[in-house]
Symmetry: C2
Subunit: 213 residues, 2 copies
């Protein structure tokens, strides 16, 4: 669904008068980000029988960054990792979630997300628009140890949820161990010990019939 | 709902063998935290007609901390604020959300949350259990500038959502401007400029008939 012609959430009602322009812009951005809570991912929760949304996923990654930071190789600035994961999915507000195992959807993903970034980040004052855009680019390009660790967590988290929800998205047609391994082995670039764990988890998933071997 | 006799999420299925004990404990905690996504708050989203959950709320606060840090007085360590808001509601996994305007529920809140903390944080290795427990205590006691700013965001965010959702929880019986002001004026302790904004927002809410004046 394209929302490019839709109004911003902040434009739906009359806003308080006399608010400084910089603060008003920041609040407009933060309110627009409420939409991330409505973007559904493919993987399920474990605690409840429903799909996860991007805001929940982003929070979970941030908490994982705090708890699992010791597994980053090389060592990382945890605060920066947290900032990367907080913003890493924001463009999906307009671009939607793209399932990693869907070749048709992944084909147009880069262009969709670029256009989304050009709409979303400029809602902020210029200095912050630049900064958050840079964080998103850093994450996508996996240019830094922080970005590689953040991406590792982004790949590990759905494995943890799928496995503990009885298989989750692995039951979809065409998903195989080789396919999942190919798309998650970049965990190894940011956190080799977490990749060793992921390999054990995938082997267990195959053994339990959750994932075709 | 008490889950003290319920099993942990990590205990529901067989886990991969050969995982180091420290990592297994960390993953058990992180999986248990999936439950935060099922704890509903009273306030609505703006982007969709449903109530917000604690994980979405925590993510939104963390993003607000990054974008609004410049309004903290005195200046704060943003990374620490983010860590505080990521963990500030975790005890609600077992204690449930307590609506700030419900005097009966708030009466038993402290004890419920203490028991929840004693169940949740010790799932982590001892050093991390201590650290996250300290973060939660710091937030609750508003002992530091970071905690006072985090608490300010925690009070501001539902104002922003209620206002832009047409009033939200302000339409509940017994809610008045004076009551809302009394429970949100601590925004002033951490971020005076954001409190000035909140006052404008509350005045506009009264003017628009969202909140009894």
């Amino acid at each position: 669904v394209s929302v490019e012609r839709e109004s911003l959430l902040i434009e739906r009602g009359e806003q308080p008068a006399g608010v400084p322009a910089r603060l008003a812009a920041q609040l407009g951005f933060l309110l627009e980000c409420d939409r991330l809570k409505t973007v559904l991912r493919r993987n399920p929760l474990v605690a409840q029988d429903r799909r996860e949304n991007d805001a929940e996923h982003s929070w979970h990654l941030a908490l994982m960054a705090v708890v699992l930071a010791e597994y980053a190789e090389p060592a990382v600035d945890v605060g920066r990792v947290v900032e990367l994961v907080l913003v890493h999915d924001l463009v999906e507000i307009y671009a939607g979630d793209t399932w990693i195992h869907d070749p048709v959807a992944t084909a147009g993903q880069a262009e969709r997300e670029q256009r989304a970034a050009e709409r979303l980040f400029p809602l902020l004052p210029a200095d912050q628009a630049r900064r958050l855009r840079e964080r998103w680019d850093e994450f996508e390009a996996r240019r830094t140890p922080e970005a590689r660790f953040a991406k590792a967590l982004d790949r590990l988290q759905p494995l943890l949820l799928n496995y503990n929800a009885g298989g989750g998205t692995w039951h979809n047609p065409g998903v195989t161990l080789d396919g999942v391994r190919a798309r998650t082995s970049i965990i190894d670039d940011g956190a080799p010990q977490l990749w060793a764990y992921a390999e054990r988890l995938l082997a267990a998933a195959v053994a339990h019939g959750q994932l075709p071997g």
